[in-house]
């Protein structure tokens, strides 16, 4: 009984520490083969903001994102899984996912990126939404191909306003579904994080 009480006290004290679950591919071999048909292999790495630069890095990320990290999915120590994809010894791209708060639970927003961080594909591993089919449709996701973090630098994901190519992407859902704004925020967050995690990294 004493041991259980001690455990409870330890847990309550520990609860002020961070901790969040990351976002990785459920079937990386199958998914990466679909994203990069010519690849010969991939490597998996785990990174976190806390480990890579702590609060100073978090501030840089939030500034570039244009919003604060909040909620269960956006703690400073969440482990991010980065897949580096190779053809022979040559790095040909990345796959990276983030958890983003959606209307019904979390949305897992994966970006398939070139070796310089340009989006080649947008992939939702998890999306529970009335308009899920509209968001997953190629007519919507293909609009993001060719975009980079620079395109999102001129887009305010809080007020959903800005300039440039990103503003041409419209909500495909008929009822002004808030998951559209969540998806845009998830994509920008993903790109900003990869500006640090990617080998070309400028953040």
């Amino acid at each position: 009984m004493k041991q259980i009480i001690l455990l409870i006290l330890a847990l309550l004290a520990a609860s002020f520490l961070y901790g969040a679950v990351g976002c990785d591919l459920n079937d990386p071999a199958k998914d990466i083969k679909r994203f990069f048909p010519d690849h010969t292999g991939y490597k998996t790495y785990y990174r976190s903001i806390q480990r890579d630069g702590g609060k100073a890095l978090l501030t840089k990320v939030e500034t570039r994102l244009g919003d604060k990290f909040t909620g269960l999915f956006e703690t400073i120590d969440v482990p991010y899984t980065i897949y580096e994809v190779f053809k022979g010894d040559k790095l040909i791209g990345y796959v990276h996912g983030v958890n983003q708060k959606g209307r019904y639970g979390g949305i897992q927003v994966f970006l398939v990126l070139s070796e310089r961080g340009i989006i080649t594909q947008l992939y939702f591993q998890r999306l529970s939404s009335r308009n899920g089919n509209l968001f997953k449709a190629r007519t919507f996701t293909s609009q993001f191909a060719g975009l980079s973090v620079k395109d999102f630098d001129t887009f305010d994901i809080v007020n959903m306003k800005g300039t440039g190519k990103v503003t041409t992407i419209k909500n495909p859902a008929p009822d002004n579904d808030p998951d559209f704004a969540a998806i845009m925020r998830g994509i920008k967050k993903n790109l900003v994080l990869m500006e640090h995690f990617g080998r070309w990294g400028s953040l």
Partner: protein, 340 residues
């Protein structure tokens, strides 16, 4: 051959604890990590309303889950020059067990090597057998009981397995010792397989059919029942899970023969998620079992709330028909990841 009979099949507690400390503290500050270590601590107990008794576990004194414990969940990626070729997964706990002299039970859950072969994944070690809902749904932290807590399935078993996936199907096969958590290499075995269609995460639904046959032990945690007698079993199963917006349901039915007696275990679970980010949920579950002409039912209502990203509170009311027991369980579960 039986492994470590003195510990009823469990690994020595001190050795496991030492391994835990070495793994946890031996971190090299590299800019990119190939290791992910999750620390887990849980405080759990149950109050039996029928006899006004508190018990330091959530289900049964011999069951491995859930008991007050500290543990870890470790993944190490194995790689060559330009590709990952596999990973090692180790998941273990030091649990409080009032039945043991030193009050500690060392528990091993995952302990396997996964090799990414050209067309499929192969594993060897201690892993989930390819049978039913539990082959892909993680019940590791949950209070709700599942079909691995009956004699017809195992939460983990020792052996080898193969996973083959395409865009539409998911095929799992395994050949294991049929002993569960303890490692027994005498006469017992379990061959099992599951063919699934769909993916709960990607498509919000999955269904599968399973089969299993073998001569298995009836083990609860590291305790082997019935004088270590092997039981002939041959079962088939069907399982499914689906999520729609804030609702999720899961069903798992395994039925067939157990020592030539008709046997089954089936459950139906319904979750309703509350608040953004699925911060809380309410669950109801009914489970029906039959083993050697003894039938039983468990009816449960449970809740879960994430106090913080690392800390979850769970509570459950369960009614067991066979013993007419009403119990209330509560759990605080801490889970946090470290990269190195």
């Amino acid at each position: 051959m039986r492994y470590e009979r003195d510990y009823h099949g469990s690994i020595p507690a001190k050795s496991l604890f030492l391994l835990l400390m070495i793994v946890f503290f031996h971190s090299v500050p590299l800019p990119a990590g190939t290791n992910l270590l999750n620390l887990e601590i849980q405080a759990v107990g149950k109050y039996d309303l029928s006899n006004s008794e508190f018990q330091p576990y959530s289900h049964h004194k011999h069951d491995a889950m859930q008991k007050p414990s500290i543990g870890f969940d470790y993944i190490h990626r194995l790689r060559g020059k330009s590709r990952d070729w596999g990973y090692v997964s180790i998941q273990s706990r030091l649990a409080y067990d009032e039945l043991r002299e030193n009050k500690i039970e060392a528990q091993l859950y995952n302990a396997f090597l996964n090799w990414k072969a050209p067309w499929l994944d192969l594993w060897i070690g201690h892993n989930k057998p390819a049978l039913g809902l539990s082959s892909y749904l993680d019940n590791h932290a949950q209070l709700l009981i599942d079909n691995t807590m009956t004699a017809l399935n195992f939460d983990r078993d020792w052996g080898v397995g193969a996973n083959y996936e395409t865009e539409t199907i998911d095929l799992k096969l395994s050949l294991t010792t049929g002993s569960g958590m303890p490692l027994y290499l005498d006469e017992t075995y379990l061959v099992s397989g599951r063919l699934g269609v769909g993916d709960l995460a990607k498509g919000n639904s999955t269904v599968g059919v399973s089969f299993a046959a073998g001569e298995v032990l009836h083990s609860m945690g590291y305790n082997v029942m019935h004088g270590e007698k092997a039981h002939q079993t041959m079962v088939g199963g069907v399982d499914g899970s689906m999520r729609y917006l804030d609702w999720e349901t899961a069903a798992d039915l395994i039925l067939g023969s157990y020592d030539e007696y008709y046997a089954y275990t089936g459950l139906l679970r319904l979750n309703h998620y509350l608040f953004p980010e699925d911060r809380a949920s309410i669950m109801t579950q009914a489970q029906f079992t039959r083993l050697k002409n003894v039938t039983d039912q468990n009816y449960a209502v449970a809740m879960q709330y994430k106090i913080s990203p690392a800390l979850t509170l769970r509570a459950m009311y369960n009614y067991r028909h066979l013993t007419e027991n009403h119990t209330v369980s509560a759990q605080l579960f801490y889970y946090r990841g470290f990269i190195f």
